[in-house]
């Protein structure tokens, strides 16, 4: 069975059909790209998958479980984590606390433990500290652990958002334009990181990206959206050669 199954997914905002009749299956372990011109409905698909919006029609299944109607925190617990196109960090919290907050459901203890700092609390907090630093190290953010998240440079903020999403131990990771605003060096580095974390965390990835070098470099399959509808779907190499995709999105 595919990890993610999306059937006939659609949503309307008033008269605007932002996503229409989307079908998509994502196999466990794959790395899939979602591309298309501005306003095509890519971010809206992420918002539908994560429960921010409720679809007007369609089915979303993660490993066979129906996700429609669940709220974002339930969907996160079901195994989908995401980053945001316009970075949404906990900006007044430290870099370490951003990741530790995401371990909320992973390493848990009671409210009494929180209020009284019981031995059990200490033990669990130690685990949380350790796990958070482990994740930060993957993204080479460990030396910034004590910085306020807002004070990180832009590229590192993007990385921290991915680190935070991974801390929830997702099965499916959604990345919304992870390379936006990065220079070519940072983008190349990001590509390596994505490849690495895919192996390290054994996570399936769906990413939105405008940087075609990154898309061609790491995505195995692509779905191209245009005006909310699927224009083309398939293996990356085939999709990028498709004349329709070239006219609508890639140009020349």
């Amino acid at each position: 069975m595919a990890l993610l199954e999306v059937k006939n997914l659609g949503i309307s905002f008033g008269g605007l059909r932002a996503v229409d009749g989307l079908n998509m299956t994502i196999e466990e372990g794959s790395l899939v790209g979602l591309i298309g011109p501005n306003g095509a409905g890519k971010t809206t698909v992420f918002n539908l998958l994560t429960g921010v919006y409720r679809p007007t029609d369609g089915i979303i299944r993660l490993d066979g479980t129906d996700l429609v109607g669940k709220n974002p925190s339930q969907i996160c617990q079901a195994g989908i984590a995401r980053t945001f196109q316009n970075i949404r960090l906990f900006s007044d919290m430290t870099v370490a606390d951003n990741v530790k907050a995401a371990l909320h459901n992973q390493i848990s203890y009671s409210l009494a433990g929180s209020l009284l700092h019981t031995p059990h609390y200490r033990k669990k907090e130690k685990e949380i500290d350790g796990r958070a630093m482990e994740i930060l190290r993957v993204f080479e953010l460990d030396q910034f652990a004590g910085y306020k998240a807002a004070n990180l440079p832009y590229g590192k903020q993007r990385k921290l958002e991915i680190a935070r999403a991974l801390a929830t131990n997702p099965r499916l990771l959604l990345l919304d334009e992870p390379a936006a605003g990065m220079n070519p060096n940072e983008t190349a580095e990001l590509m390596e990181t994505i490849k690495f974390l895919r192996k390290e965390f054994q996570v399936t990835i769906l990413l939105i990206e405008h940087d075609m070098k990154l898309v061609a470099g790491i995505c195995e399959e692509l779905t191209v959206l245009n005006f909310g509808e699927v224009l083309c779907q398939g293996k990356t190499a085939d999709v990028l050669k498709d004349p329709q995709v070239i006219t609508a999105y890639l140009g020349e």
């Binding site: 994560t50 709220n71 974002p72 945001f84 907050a101 909320h104 700092h117």
Partner: protein, 317 residues
């Protein structure tokens, strides 16, 4: 050893303050006026620290803290007046006052905290006024506008130890909570509720939790107030009181527990100290407020905070 450094400093400071107050009181070094401020200082610290959790950590503007205080005060006062011996009545009153306030917190919080933006500020403001009217109208129980009189004076400076322990408990619980998974969830909601939801935090639940805990603590402070002042009038719990508590939190630097404690102390003691200045009193008071505000936004303060955070991070390894 180093790990417990902060706790040790806290314990020593708490013991030192306690010893100092006991010496000052028993040695007769304080004027009557200053003696009468001891309990209000503790009470305001409880109120400020608890509101700090809602405004500073949860990031929701609540203008009804005095209302939760009043519910605690009235329900506690009824128990204090019941004729039970003080040893039993006082702890029971504090507990009941807290629970009643918490229940109302839950009742108000569940619907309102689902809303976003400034709704909470407006609703809690309205809620406070409604509670005030109810206490005004329920004359047979509350004495109405004339006041609920003859409450046994069980929380005067003679009972400082009890109130002090209560205050320490509130400070300890709130500062512990902040440094926990629950506290991180609350701060995450403040910083970005969409991202908080996306990492699996139940936003409404944690908002309500913080709100109810704060209401509980305000209720306990209300009982302290009742046992200190001896008479309860609804006008004592209008929005001015809520604003005064809010000012303490804001001056304390929003989400800074130590700051809230210092601001609560200063804003309780300062007006009395300045009485001698007569005409200049409000002027000096206002200047003090502005000075504290400026310090909060100064680069010096920011540098201190950054340094502190770096040290904390060093400990994680």
């Amino acid at each position: 050893m180093k790990k417990y450094g902060k706790q040790i400093i806290g314990c020593v400071a708490a013991a030192a303050v306690y010893a100092a107050v006991m010496i000052l009181v028993n040695g007769g070094f304080l004027s009557r006026q200053m003696m009468s401020l001891i309990i209000p200082v503790c009470m305001n610290i409880i109120l400020a620290v608890s509101l700090c959790m809602v405004v500073g950590f949860l990031g929701e503007l609540s203008l009804g803290h005095a209302a939760f205080m009043s519910i605690g005060a009235y329900s506690g006062a009824l128990i204090l007046k019941s004729g039970l011996p003080t040893v039993a009545a006082l702890p029971l009153a504090v507990l009941v006052g807290g629970v009643c306030a918490a229940l109302l917190g839950l009742l108000v919080g569940i619907p309102v905290l689902r809303l976003r933006g400034d709704y909470l500020a407006i609703t809690t403001l309205g809620f406070g006024e409604i509670i005030k009217s109810v206490f005004n109208a329920a004359t047979p129980v509350t004495g109405g506008a004339g006041g609920l009189k003859k409450i046994p004076p069980v929380t005067t400076y003679r009972n400082f130890t009890f109130v002090y322990i209560l205050m320490l408990l509130v400070i300890l619980l709130v500062s512990n909570l902040v440094k926990s998974r629950h506290g991180r969830a609350i701060c995450a909601i403040r910083d970005n509720y969409i991202a908080a939801e996306a990492i699996g935090i139940k936003v409404s639940f944690f908002k309500t939790m913080a709100f109810v805990i704060a209401a509980f603590m305000a209720g306990m402070a209300g009982v302290v107030y009742a046992g200190n002042i001896g008479i309860l009038k609804p006008v004592n719990f209008d929005y001015n009181t809520s604003i005064e508590i809010l000012v303490m939190v804001v001056l304390g630097g929003m989400g800074n527990i130590t700051g809230s404690i210092i601001a609560a102390f200063l804003l309780t003691v300062l007006p009395e100290m300045l009485r001698g200045l007569s005409n200049y009193r409000m002027l000096v008071y206002a200047i003090a407020l502005i000075a504290m505000m400026l310090f909060n936004n100064s680069p010096l303060k920011r540098m201190l905070v950054e340094k502190h955070n770096m040290r904390q991070a060093g400990k994680i390894e």
